[in-house]
């Protein structure tokens, strides 16, 4: 199991955009840390990009937190994206857990659901 690495920084090209880089494995043992990192990223800007391209594993708790973060961002009028860089581990996990879908969820009025699509 690879240790979870969280790094939050300002996107130099886009002021107000926070990029949260997640590397290693998100598991229940570190879910609390992951939650804190998401809260911090969301409080730091109007747009948050979670970069999961270097993620090597994510369990149900991690997927739940991503969904909740998206929900919270929507409520606060902020934008929330996931950049997976085609990471097959992430996609497989989201798909096998049944999170990937074809229309957004009930909170999702702006067609921004993080699980929609998948082949872009």
């Amino acid at each position: 199991m690879e240790e979870l690495m969280l790094e939050c920084r300002q996107d130099p090209a886009h002021p107000g955009t926070r990029v949260l880089k997640v590397a290693g494995e998100v598991s229940i043992g570190v879910a609390g840390d992951f939650k804190e990192a998401l809260i911090e990223a969301l409080s730091g800007g109007n747009e948050v990009q979670v970069d999961v391209s270097a993620l090597t594993g994510i369990d149900l708790t991690g997927l739940q937190l991503l969904c909740a973060a998206h929900h919270s961002a929507g409520t606060a009028g902020k934008e929330f994206h996931i950049v997976d860089g085609g990471n097959p581990t992430f996609r497989d996990m989201a798909t096998s857990a049944g999170f990937r879908r074809h229309t957004g969820c009930a909170y999702d009025r702006a067609c921004s659901c993080i699980w929609v699509g998948g082949d872009n």
């Binding site: 229940i28 879910a31 609390g32 992951f34 939650k35 998401l38 809260i39 969301l42 369990d59 149900l60 708790t61 997927l63 739940q64 937190l65 969904c67 909740a68 973060a69 929900h71 919270s72 409520t75 096998s96 857990a97 049944g98 999170f99 879908r101 074809h102 229309t103 957004g104 969820c105 009930a106 999702d108 067609c111 929609v116 699509g117 872009n120």
Partner: protein, 695 residues
């Protein structure tokens, strides 16, 4: 290996028995010592448990009786007496002799066992038979017919603290059969309030399995008390075979109890898509609809699979074997050409007759070999239906997809390579073509747009058409953009066709904003390039306000093409015949008259040409009169200057080795009848390179 385990058990059992003996003797002196009683019980328990695991069933069942007694002693229901200790010691000796007997092969003394058991039972005060623990072997009677189940699995919030990972259970479900899983996220709190160690999600799963409901229950055996689990069969397979369509969305939701039929009627009284409406009226949340949609889809897929399985009294063969066969046939065609050539040269009537016969057989063999690789394009079409459904929902448009000619057959490789370009074209139609419902109504068109996909055979090609009834292309917008991008000059007079063809130019996009559906940096130029790589062509027509029609013409197979054989010096080249328009002569005077510009006058039209001898740096002088082969690629005529045109030739394409794979202007090679190699020219690429060099 089993023997090794048995041996280990025996050693352990002898040890335990020795310990048991001393414990029992001590117990006689201190009958109330709980620690001693526990030790005796554990010894019996271990002998029983381990014994049954390693096949000592007689020992296990005998020891079980003794263990039962000591369980009563342990719980204070029975006193330790001299008689009990005596009987237990006898039992201990009996177990020992049973262990000894296991190796020698002699049967243990059953009479002695029975006597001890009767004695112990009397002591415990129960009569007759103690219910023997039957070791039931669980038999999974596999059901023959697959049944589809609707499963709702809602783990308890605190499921994680029991060490359960619900995802492994979902994975286990998937192993039972075709499975569609939708995670329901609607009950999620906001991030701040979410306990990261709690489980909020629940699942709706549609599973088609022939293992029966018990197999599904077994998956959840450890969590029965820690979750809400609903399993119900939804459709007998025979039942829906008779139905044209699977249940409608509303029907499914009512069956699931997610919505009442009254609510459904309210929703249905308005003519919109049911799911959208139900969500927008707050009767349902999205996840429920999603799950119902997944059920529809799942059933469709299962049914399709079934149909495919039934329709084919066919054999599955690995694709490589087919490729090998086609390759061999290709070589056969080459050899046959040599044979015919040789026969003609020898002027031998008998040999000629044989060569003709071989030629006929080879042609038939070639056709049937290529036929094996043909697949109906229908499977690709049905994938697109899904794409249209999902994308239109995402964009808030109402679009129906109609298809025609799904049975049209194409080479397997071609179908695979056609997928991406077609996806892109369809996405374009949905995104840029079809208008939003309001705009359509305002334009006096039906609210629901149509994308029509059709495939039809035409000669040795297949014509695929994607037609939408959307807004059509905006000529002025294209012209403006073309000028902006420097693709055309401001005053250029362009025919409609030329204008529409501009959208295939690199870096051209007319959509005002880049949406998530199309315009992800992949332009129509890439589509065009992909089609051309299949030696196909793409054409576009459009009427403003009425729609756009894109026609893609693709050769039936990639393995063999009709081509024109030409020569430059001693080198032979092939040009795909489909692209060739005509051939004209080029004399030295013509060259001189053009003043160094590579332009030829053909019936009052100027045609640019590429001197291939120069292009490929082939040494030697051209003949007095050269030939220009005029090709047409996407409506543009370009000539290629060669020394001689030999004639039509049926060409079996050989790919170039890895070292030459990316050679520009060459798409492959073939072997001629006399054994020499001819290169196949990549006409579109040559044209493009020449255009690029000019610009």
């Amino acid at each position: 290996m089993i023997d090794q385990h048995r041996q280990a058990f025996k050693e352990e059992a002898y040890e335990l028995l020795a310990e048991l003996e001393s414990s029992l003797l001590e117990l006689e002196e201190r009958p109330d010592d709980q620690d001693l009683i526990g030790r005796v019980f554990r010894a019996m328990h271990t002998i029983k448990g381990s014994g049954s695991m390693f096949g000592f069933d007689d020992i296990a069942s005998f020891t079980h009786e003794v263990e039962t007694i000591f369980d009563m002693v342990r719980n204070g229901k029975l006193q330790v007496t001299g008689r009990l200790v005596n009987l237990t010691l006898a039992a201990r000796d009996q177990i020992r002799s049973m262990l000894d007997a296991a190796d020698s092969g002699e049967a243990a003394d059953l009479q002695a066992s029975a006597e001890i058991i009767v004695g112990l039972r009397e002591l415990a005060g129960f009569q007759g038979q103690v219910a023997a623990e039957a070791h039931k072997e669980e038999v999974h009677e596999a059901q023959k017919d697959p049944v589809t189940y609707r499963i709702r699995f809602a783990p308890a919030r605190e499921i994680f603290v029991s060490g359960t990972n619900p995802l492994t259970l979902i994975a286990e479900l998937r192993e039972l059969g075709a499975c569609t899983v939708v995670a329901q996220t609607a009950g999620f709190p906001c991030l701040e309030e979410m306990n990261p160690e709690s489980c909020y999600v629940y699942w709706d799963v549609i599973l088609t399995t022939d293992q029966g409901e018990n197999a599904i229950r077994d998956v959840f055996i450890f969590v029965e008390d820690d979750c809400e689990l609903k399993i119900e069969p939804i459709a007998e397979h025979n039942r829906y075979e008779e139905q044209q369509d699977y249940k409608r969305l509303g029907e499914i939701l009512v069956e699931r109890g997610d919505i009442t039929s009254d609510d459904m009627r309210v929703v249905l009284s308005q003519q919109k898509r049911f799911g959208e409406l139900a969500i927008s009226q707050g009767i349902l949340h999205e996840g429920k609809v999603q799950a119902a949609l997944a059920e529809q889809q799942h059933i469709k897929e299962v049914r399709q699979e079934k149909q495919v399985a039934e329709a084919s009294s066919s054999i599955r063969v690995p694709a490589e074997r087919l490729d090998l066969l086609v390759n061999l046939v290709g070589e056969m065609v080459t050899v046959q050409a040599r044979l015919s050539q040789t026969a003609a040269q020898r002027d031998d009537a008998e040999l000629m007759a044989i060569a003709e016969e071989v030629e006929r057989l080879t042609a038939e063999l070639r056709d049937s070999a290529l036929n094996i690789r043909m697949l109906p394009i229908g499977s690709t079409f049905s994938k697109f239906k899904r794409l249209v459904r999902d994308l239109s929902a995402e964009l808030g448009k109402q679009i129906e997809m109609t298809t025609e000619g799904a049975e049209t057959e194409l080479d397997k490789t071609v179908i695979e390579k056609l997928n991406d370009p077609l996806v892109h074209l369809i996405r374009n139609s949905i995104d840029h073509g079809i208008e939003r419902p309001e705009a359509r109504v305002a334009a006096g068109k039906p609210e629901r747009g149509t994308v029509h996909l059709s495939a039809v055979h035409s000669g040795d090609s297949v014509l695929i058409t994607i037609a939408d009834d959307g807004a059509g292309l905006d000529k002025e917008a294209i012209r403006t953009k073309g000028i902006e991008r420097g693709i055309i000059t401001a005053g250029a007079e362009l025919s409609d066709k030329e204008l529409f063809n501009l959208i295939f130019a690199p870096g051209f996009s007319t959509a005002k904003t880049i949406s998530s559906v199309s315009g992800r940096g992949v332009g129509m130029d890439v589509v065009k390039r992909a089609i051309e790589a299949l030696r196909g062509s793409i054409d576009i027509t459009s009427v403003r306000g009425e729609g756009t029609r894109i026609m893609v013409k693709i050769p039936l197979t990639l393995a063999i093409i009709e081509s024109l054989l030409v020569k430059i010096g001693n080198d032979s080249f092939m040009m795909p015949l489909a692209l060739v328009d005509e051939c004209v002569e080029l004399t030295r005077e013509d060259v001189a008259a053009a003043h160094g510009r590579n332009l030829a006058h053909v019936r009052d039209q100027l045609v640019p040409y590429i001197p291939l001898r120069e292009h490929f740096a082939i040494p030697g002088d051209p003949p007095e009169i050269e030939q220009i082969v005029i090709t047409q690629v996407s409506g543009v005529r370009v000539g290629f200057v060669v020394d001689h045109v030999i004639g039509e030739h049926q060409t079996v394409i050989k790919s170039l080795g890895r070292a030459y794979k990316d050679t520009e202007g060459i798409s492959g090679a073939t072997i001629l009848g006399d054994g020499t190699v001819a290169l196949i020219l990549d006409i579109p690429q040559l044209v493009q390179a020449a255009e690029a060099a000019q610009a």
